[in-house]
């Protein structure tokens, strides 16, 4: 069953020097109980795609396309309607657990706030539910922790609090934007395990954003590889990970740590840097960094080709 259906999503940011295309025609569907992994280098437009779905883009952004939640187009919804949907039907966990919680409020109150808002609960009942949620996300002595302030928790614990907060109303869609990127490796693994068990238990759909293919591989059913605001390749995790039809996907895999690189050496990242949104070529965004690039790639939008169950936007796809 399709929960979320995104069609030709475009985000432009108005600047004094012109409009910057940040997200350029992203389309995907998300089924109940499944996880979509959104992967790409920093600056690819992943967070902007997520914020567009939340309708929380900066004021200077213009959005077009359609974002249908159970068939209702969120781009047509007014702000009052969006406030009902946010935190209730779609929730989001952010990258920075250190700054994403309000330093002046107790964590119990911050979780309870969502329940009071959407479930019309009394504060007392909401705090009881907050304690159950904290316990569920693996915070020990949850009842006592309700009155802790964010600075009294570790980074991993704060991210668990963020997850508890996002889950409070059992949303249909959870967007987790780099939820583990700011954590130590061991804590990362714990949080990934937690997310996996929560998706199974709650049956919600998860959009997991990461620049780390390892994290995506462990959680996602489907993968969307993003670059320069556009989708380079998408398909089931198995298909994308085995076929690697798109040269950009291949580049991401080649840049994974622990592959043919000697210890202590900086790993082979993809040569070159992510171009600024106003410096993208007219054709394929990866042109200029792509080892296979030809003149045709520079000037024409590449076709979408299906190879081994994976769909790649490329003139010369294939392993």
């Amino acid at each position: 069953m399709t929960v979320l259906d995104v069609e030709d999503l475009r985000v432009d940011i108005r600047t004094p020097t012109g409009r910057l295309p940040i997200v350029r025609g992203v389309s995907f569907t998300l089924a109940r109980g499944t996880t979509l992994g959104l992967v790409g280098e920093s600056g690819s437009g992943k967070s902007m795609t997520a914020l567009a779905i939340m309708r929380l883009l900066p004021q200077a952004a213009d959005v077009s396309g359609a974002i249908r939640l159970h068939g209702e187009d969120l781009l047509q919804a007014d702000e009052t309607r969006m406030c009902r949907i946010r935190g209730d039907r779609i929730a989001m966990v952010f990258q920075e657990p250190m700054t994403a919680l309000n330093p002046l409020h107790r964590i119990g109150d911050q979780i309870a706030e969502t329940l009071v808002l959407h479930r019309d609960m009394a504060r007392r009942a909401a705090l009881d539910e907050a304690a159950r949620l904290l316990d569920r996300v693996g915070i020990r002595e949850a009842q006592a922790r309700l009155s802790a302030y964010p600075h009294q928790l570790s980074g991993g614990q704060r991210q668990r609090v963020m997850i508890a907060m996002a889950l409070a109303c059992r949303p249909d869609v959870l967007i987790a934007d780099e939820p583990t990127s700011a954590l130590d490796v061991t804590v990362q693994a714990q949080v990934i395990d937690l997310l996996r068990s929560l998706v199974d238990e709650f049956g919600m759909a998860l959009i997991l954003i990461s620049h780390d293919l390892g994290v995506i591989g462990r959680l996602a059913d489907r993968v969307m590889v993003m670059y320069g605001g556009a989708i380079m390749e998408q398909g089931s995790t198995k298909a994308v990970f085995t076929t690697r039809a798109h040269p950009y996907t291949q580049g991401l895999f080649a840049a994974l740590p622990g592959r043919g690189a000697r210890k202590g050496r900086r790993l082979a990242a993809i040569p070159g840097t992510v171009p600024a949104p106003d410096a993208l070529p007219a054709g394929c965004p990866f042109y200029g960094r792509c080892p296979r690039g030809q003149d045709v790639c520079r000037d024409n939008p590449p076709p979408v080709v299906e190879i081994g169950g994976s769909r790649a936007a490329c003139f010369f796809p294939g392993p």
Binding site: M54, F94, T99, A100, H151
Partner: protein, 316 residues
């Protein structure tokens, strides 16, 4: 929390003592022998020496300092050379004007600045914001005594609504007393409000850019509810800091404004006392003003810990 408070109180007492030492030393090195001033041109060396003994001026400085402090603690501020009355009574009487004036100014300045600053931030880069910024720019640029003159011209001379100076005394009734304080308070408050509005605006804008604001919006809170519940308290920290700093400017401003409006407050008293070399009065008032500033800083410190849990407990 309690240990923190105890540490703060000890700090407060030490600061007050240091202030007293500074005030005392400055008065020592200032030229002018009070006894000579009091006796005037008829002074003979003998009468001078007798008066100096009577005033205790012949004793060594540390003894005089200790006596001063011990007397102060007992509420005895000495006798004014010129007025020939206890300084304590003199100051207490003047405070009945200066304290209400200061409180009125702070209340006015806060009541004007906070809503305007918040409004400007909430309407960032829109006409309301631009308008508020222009007005506050003018408020920052205009000195308060000049502003006082403009107010007098408008409300006293032209419209005749409010007195242009003097104070009828509280016995003349609350209405008359407040009418006399209105223009001085406004002159003091507006320049401060202009600065405070700017600080509030930028504090709110800073807080609005924080990650927890995005989290609050992602929870489904409206823009207004986010501002109310998550932004304002965070923005309060820099605002309280500036209000504390402004208090000393307010006291300095009160000295000028009381003279502009002929208000018999502390500011006028210290002005006259300096002119007449009534050093006991000057010394006590200066210490009192310093103590007020120190107390306000203490209050600001305590407020910080009330606002921000990160400053309570644990660390040092």
């Amino acid at each position: 929390m309690l240990a923190l408070l105890v540490r703060r109180v000890i700090g407060l007492v030490l600061t007050l003592l240091a202030a007293a030492v500074v005030v005392f030393v400055v008065m020592e090195v200032l030229p002018g022998d009070p006894a000579a001033v009091m006796l005037g041109v008829q002074a003979t060396p003998e009468t001078l020496a007798a008066l100096r003994t009577e005033l205790g001026l012949d004793r060594p400085a540390p003894v005089r300092f200790a006596t001063w402090i011990i007397d102060l603690l007992q509420g005895d501020l000495g006798i004014s050379y010129t007025y020939r009355v206890p300084v304590a009574g003199l100051i207490a009487e003047r405070l009945t004007i200066t304290v209400p004036l200061a409180l009125l100014s702070i209340a006015l300045s806060t009541a004007i600045a906070l809503p305007l600053g918040i409004l400007a931030a909430a309407r960032h880069d829109r006409p309301a914001d631009a308008g508020i910024m222009v007005f506050s720019q003018i408020g920052v640029a205009v000195p308060n005594f000049w502003f006082a003159l403009l107010l007098v011209l408008l409300f006293s001379v032209t419209l005749g609504w409010l007195p242009s100076g003097g104070f009828p005394g509280w016995q003349a009734g609350i209405g008359a007393a407040f009418a006399a304080l209105a223009l001085p308070a406004i002159s003091l408050a507006l320049p401060q409000a202009a600065i405070l509005a700017r600080v509030t605006r930028s504090a709110v804008l800073d807080a609005l850019g924080e990650d927890y604001v995005r989290t609050a919006r992602a929870k489904g809170l409206t823009r207004a509810a986010t501002l109310r519940r998550h932004v304002l308290r965070n923005a309060l920290i820099p605002v309280v800091t500036i209000m504390g700093l402004q208090f000393s400017f307010l006291l300095a401003g009160a000295i000028i404004i009381e003279n502009v409006f002929y208000l018999p407050g502390l500011g006028r008293l210290v002005f006259q006392a300096i002119a007449q070399r009534d050093l006991i009065v000057v010394r006590d008032i200066v210490l009192l003003l310093a103590a007020m500033v120190i107390f306000i800083n203490f209050a600001v410190d305590v407020l910080y810990t009330l606002i921000d849990p990160r400053l309570r407990g644990q660390r040092t």
